[in-house]
Symmetry: D3
Subunit: 336 residues, 6 copies
Amino acid sequence: MLRLAPPGFLRFSQTTSFDVVYGGGESNVAVSLANYGVPVDFVTRLPKNDIGECALMEMRKRGVNTQNIIFGGERLGIYFLETGAVSRGSKVVYDRAHSAISEIEPGMIDWKKVFEGAGWFHWTGITPAISQSAADVCLEAVKVASDMGITISTDLNYRAKLWNYGGDREAIMTELTSYCDIILGNEEDAEKHFGIHPEGLDVHKQGSEVKAEAFLSVCKQMMKKFPKAKKVITTLRGSISASHNTWAGVLYDGEKMYETRQYQITDIVDRVGGGDSFMGGLIYGLLKYPEDDQNALDFAVAASCLKHTIKGDANLVTVSEVEKLMGGDASGRVAR
Amino acid sequence: MLRLAPPGFLRFSQTTSFDVVYGGGESNVAVSLANYGVPVDFVTRLPKNDIGECALMEMRKRGVNTQNIIFGGERLGIYFLETGAVSRGSKVVYDRAHSAISEIEPGMIDWKKVFEGAGWFHWTGITPAISQSAADVCLEAVKVASDMGITISTDLNYRAKLWNYGGDREAIMTELTSYCDIILGNEEDAEKHFGIHPEGLDVHKQGSEVKAEAFLSVCKQMMKKFPKAKKVITTLRGSISASHNTWAGVLYDGEKMYETRQYQITDIVDRVGGGDSFMGGLIYGLLKYPEDDQNALDFAVAASCLKHTIKGDANLVTVSEVEKLMGGDASGRVAR
Amino acid sequence: MLRLAPPGFLRFSQTTSFDVVYGGGESNVAVSLANYGVPVDFVTRLPKNDIGECALMEMRKRGVNTQNIIFGGERLGIYFLETGAVSRGSKVVYDRAHSAISEIEPGMIDWKKVFEGAGWFHWTGITPAISQSAADVCLEAVKVASDMGITISTDLNYRAKLWNYGGDREAIMTELTSYCDIILGNEEDAEKHFGIHPEGLDVHKQGSEVKAEAFLSVCKQMMKKFPKAKKVITTLRGSISASHNTWAGVLYDGEKMYETRQYQITDIVDRVGGGDSFMGGLIYGLLKYPEDDQNALDFAVAASCLKHTIKGDANLVTVSEVEKLMGGDASGRVAR
Amino acid sequence: MLRLAPPGFLRFSQTTSFDVVYGGGESNVAVSLANYGVPVDFVTRLPKNDIGECALMEMRKRGVNTQNIIFGGERLGIYFLETGAVSRGSKVVYDRAHSAISEIEPGMIDWKKVFEGAGWFHWTGITPAISQSAADVCLEAVKVASDMGITISTDLNYRAKLWNYGGDREAIMTELTSYCDIILGNEEDAEKHFGIHPEGLDVHKQGSEVKAEAFLSVCKQMMKKFPKAKKVITTLRGSISASHNTWAGVLYDGEKMYETRQYQITDIVDRVGGGDSFMGGLIYGLLKYPEDDQNALDFAVAASCLKHTIKGDANLVTVSEVEKLMGGDASGRVAR
Amino acid sequence: MLRLAPPGFLRFSQTTSFDVVYGGGESNVAVSLANYGVPVDFVTRLPKNDIGECALMEMRKRGVNTQNIIFGGERLGIYFLETGAVSRGSKVVYDRAHSAISEIEPGMIDWKKVFEGAGWFHWTGITPAISQSAADVCLEAVKVASDMGITISTDLNYRAKLWNYGGDREAIMTELTSYCDIILGNEEDAEKHFGIHPEGLDVHKQGSEVKAEAFLSVCKQMMKKFPKAKKVITTLRGSISASHNTWAGVLYDGEKMYETRQYQITDIVDRVGGGDSFMGGLIYGLLKYPEDDQNALDFAVAASCLKHTIKGDANLVTVSEVEKLMGGDASGRVAR
Amino acid sequence: MLRLAPPGFLRFSQTTSFDVVYGGGESNVAVSLANYGVPVDFVTRLPKNDIGECALMEMRKRGVNTQNIIFGGERLGIYFLETGAVSRGSKVVYDRAHSAISEIEPGMIDWKKVFEGAGWFHWTGITPAISQSAADVCLEAVKVASDMGITISTDLNYRAKLWNYGGDREAIMTELTSYCDIILGNEEDAEKHFGIHPEGLDVHKQGSEVKAEAFLSVCKQMMKKFPKAKKVITTLRGSISASHNTWAGVLYDGEKMYETRQYQITDIVDRVGGGDSFMGGLIYGLLKYPEDDQNALDFAVAASCLKHTIKGDANLVTVSEVEKLMGGDASGRVAR
């Protein structure tokens, strides 16, 4: 997607320019992994025009392989972002209808070829939300990946403003998720997609901090509903203000609940892509520490904590930067 | 429309920001007229979101009345503009499909009420080119205006990349144009819309300067085809390079051919909207000098000549600035 | 006024450009009201040059009616603003002497015509502070408004650097204020203009938070001195640092003291115009909730709280954004 | 003065920022001389605020001595500059009334002390044009300089928008100029200040190129009127467009007319300060080549030719750059 | 290299920011080829720090393969660029000493592996000019390439400010060039490197246009000196001013002299990298039109003509854009 | 040095421009003193090119005398700065090897002449760290200053990435420091340079706040080792995050330990140069309050506290601004 944002904290009606960032849920995860040195391919459909090529070039710059990207369709999805501060939240105006990816059709991508030699496939709940054909392609991919024994992960990513093409959200998401080994989703995702409710939690109350324990019931219900899943994970964001959040994560492996320390993220630079950076960190963590879920989770939380200090959608940090924070050094001293 | 352009002469793949301009064919004409002190209303359909409101605010800032603008639909049309220089022409990437105005439907605007007290209605060939329903609304408007005895003008504005919804371009344009009193169109418009060919003219040859005499045959054919038309006008642009054009105009009133001096426009700042600024100047000229077509035409050419020095789609000049140039002072001395 | 500010936190001697904002006390209130959908007219005198016209265009863009603005005089008042942070406060260099408004004369504006159909007139203590003739015009306006039964409000707005033309501040302000129904002013205004002292309050102590109770004595004295006044209101700002303020408000209706919750405004984007945004919110609140002063006050405080997140003098927020914050949601979550 | 200009070719109503330049006629000459390595002092009066200090710092940065600058008064003069192109000339909006220098009074500067050790004093026709007291101080300075045997030069610099304080321009300028050894002035200056007319010259006709011969009659009349004058010099600007000027100069020493080659200045970057850069080059040339007026004049013309490629008021070029152009190399090859 | 340039036409002492471009002679050629769809590898040595990685990312973004880049050394070479206009040429301040590439040593790169599957190797005269060890590595590469039967091309690229490490320039360049099949070099290169003089040519005279015929004698001498060479090519630049150049090229194949039309490049955006863009176009042309040297040369000239309209060192144009200009369309019309 | 920083919080790989600041340890101290009105000379060696001259001009602009600066060498040292936020610290990439100052040689500066009339000489631990010859020159200066009875101060300024030329750091620093009257250094400096350890202090633990008492043992050991020293001073920085530090200072005069209040510096704008600004404030404080070390220390801490709100290396604040904060007003109210 193309993100267009007024500079600084300007409102839309004040700006005479937009800062340009190419991003989007899945590509953000891909960039994270490339930054960590993991070979990664981004598969999507881009319009055959300069704007589509700019998006591809940005991927390539970051070290993401782009040879499986196909071209076609009318346009690249756009979102306009107004950055908020303190009590004024950031505001997103979507202009993503009729994007090239929304008009993808089953058969356009040769998934068997794409997945050759791959070990992991990640998709998010945004793709099936944009059109029936995108949902179909997602299912097509998930089935092939599953057949080939590839680990499958998802970020459920519920978005209220999508899903307006008339598809049966619960049925679609349930089928897709049933193929997954790793499920990332917060309590809102679980509720909206599957009707699963956490207990004792009001996420809309100002300053409320999501309690890890309360999420346990959600995890258990998720595990029951999706028996293939090996881990259910969530981020725990406390929104004190647009400039100050708390941040932590929990992971349930069917037996044990892992929890991280809680970070105070004051002076937020850009919180868009926070969840994606968590996912990128989580995949890396699970790959690097296959026997140590605590470490994997700690990596994911520290990584996404750092994301809030980076302008743009993608998390442009290195493994050593994440590990420094994981190791407890949040002092922000000058590295020189 | 929202125009997004890399700053200076940067290519799309070089920029990290887009300059933001709200414009579009008809709104550019409206802004010109407002600048000249003519009371003017812009009628369109905008999406009910921040981007649509920004477009409206820009109109209002320039003194164009906006009370007849209706809201609805999904998005504001966008075009991406890369500014060329010398032998590299500017490049436009359209992203205007599914815009609010393209999904307008007959009946949405109460034209009788809109035209109350109005003396002039201007439409362009872009509107019927974007969708069948937009063409229908255009016809609806033209008929009401005609019934109410309002002067009707058009800028034929052929665009190769539009008209892809399947409508019969020639039939549609012929019917719409048949209601017009004033027709602006160059030889390409006449050829593409109505199959009318000028003689002895090759507009695609480098450095070719369109000859006024050659256009006479086009005018005569146009007048014959559209008997209601009182005047047929064209701009004569010679493209020496992206940075240097020549510029002039001719007007045929059925009897006489009026011609202007030819301007050398070196060091072009922004040539987008050149035709619209001509139309704005022409309407003003015809209103101000109703008995003096030469003066009206001279005003139009001088006005649009100045447009090439203004960044953005709209022509932000005053009557006195145009008249100074009309009067022969192209010295560009500092006014202090 | 024209505000010229170095970008970001640059000092004057570091900048090679100034960010341009057109604003000023009364126009900020007008813009607030226009944003809330209240029909509003801004009456002032602007110089007949490009800079004056830019100020007018900005008003018009925001939906403020400008037909009663008159033109004349030499210049638009300017102020230079250096934005501070933490322990370095923002700094203002005024260059407003000899402005068009300061040289306005009684009789230049036909107040009877201006007030036709109007229900409310707002003036601030800045206007009579700039010149004798401006004070005279202010009195002229207030008298006509009073005769026509229009509600009159004022923001006392004491400014130490003004009032240097030699007028008797106390006498002038006392007469002008005696016509007012609604008086906004903090304890400094009351002390400087009318010699009225609050009790138990040291506003200059670092981090001191103005206590609502202490303001009650000021209100009572004000009500006694200005019997026409129906409500006396003040903002309660606690300056912890240039980047962190607390914010609340109190309203006294002669019988009861209404008080709001206290907001923590960390990460301030721009605090200039905070008082004006309060006034804009208050007028809207009193119009919308005529029987509910608590609601009106809550709206004013929430509105001006949001102002601190907006760059520029004027408060560019909507009713729904204010109501969201009033309703208790200060979480700053992304709206998407 | 503080110059505020929209970036690029934006009009005032399009900009959200102003580029900041500190300059002004006499200070531009001072900066030129400092760049050429000539010890130079700038004497003026600045307001005692941040804006005044910024102006001083800019002088100091450029190597101009500032110890004789005095502080006081209200404000720094401002001018707003809109940069034109092609047929749209640049536009200046002055806001210089009531500046610190305009309110200077005789006696404020101890000219004897200022001129200690000095060899040259330069003033321009702008100073006596802004106020009676500034004219008085100018005369005060000129008399002291004359008494001390210092070479005096002037740039007559007629400005139509100044001289509105009611002083008798011809009398004032005649007296001041009578003390001068070196007089720079074009035909307009001579006509407006002293009623001296050139022959056969229409400077307002588009594209007219001022003829050197025609200026001879002006020089002779000037020499007659001002017997102390040793040289009368003028620049010969041909305004083909705002982007393309021709540029040359002539010098008359009472006996001989020296003339330079004519430069084609296409693609003008900034023509403001062109005359000042000529003066700076001329003083340097006369100092360096005291016996070779042709060389001095060539230096002045080449220097000011280069000025048109420099953004801002002052001519930031070195002696070697000017000499390269004087030597005939206008090829603009990359120096590497 | 890292190029740091003040924005627009600002001089170094005026800027508060530098525009950042990563480029350099050989990388510019690589980017050109990647843009034309030719698989291309860039081989260099970069410092292992963020600045080195940024240079690599820019290559990768443009589609250049970077897997053969090695890391080590202290720093990335820098050059500061001030963009000139009209009679003020652009100015380069080099800060490239001690760069990572200058400290490369023979043996660091496994050329056999690098050249596996490659068909063409291009080097420039800048590499041997920066240090003895870089010259040694260059020779090492050329020998391996020659052994492997790879086509070798060079751009002689004489730079007066380099070659200061004390190496015997003529000997080094003669040996290196003796391996080449394709030699690009202008008359200055031939003279400085090999003492070969053209006849009847003064390239330093202002406005002089290099004559093609005069270059023939140079070509013949070159062919004689370097018998392996199959073609000798040069660009013909006429420097009318920093803003206006003429541009053409000639190619001599030992028998016939091919010559192109001469382009007028007015309104130059950025002429740095002009030669590199010619070389990129030439390699592409020779690959695409192996039997048609005229076409290859025309492509090279048209490509580099377009380069002058592109900001930065590299030529960001497509084959179809070059072919359009080759085909004679220099009209610069808007592509929409 | 030349500092090149991406704007805002952008990472190196995201920026297309660098903000330009000229600074460096000793020059920052000089600028501080010039701002406080203390006559001050900066002695260094700059390359004779445009970049070196820009550095000099910036000094001159700030009122620092530059006549003792010598020219020579290859380049100006550069450092690239990426500004961090919250848990991501700022990052510095040095590119200072082979700078003009690093290649200075004894005898190049005539220290006797430089110190004529001077009362204070300040050097920092960075100079001897960059090369043997720079260390030699430093020693040369210190000896002359000592002979001439000039007060000598140092900021020990340990930098891990320097000292790589092979000099014996401890021996060099010990000799140089033995000449000093005033020694500024934190516990890390003492440890790395002299092997002196504080007790009970872990500066690397997140959020740790350096305790003043713990520093007493360091001071005592320092005093013992350097008997000429009259005062040992340190800053106490607590790094809560990159955006929030605490800040205080202690001074030990051999008898008594002076301590300041601790400031909370939230919302840090730029912490680079914090130590230098402390040193600048300290020298001023010791000069102004020669009998009152507490006041001197308070001034230093308040001054450097303000530095954190200023963009760039140097502390651009006035005495009155520092005194306001010293006096307890950290409210950051708008000064108007």
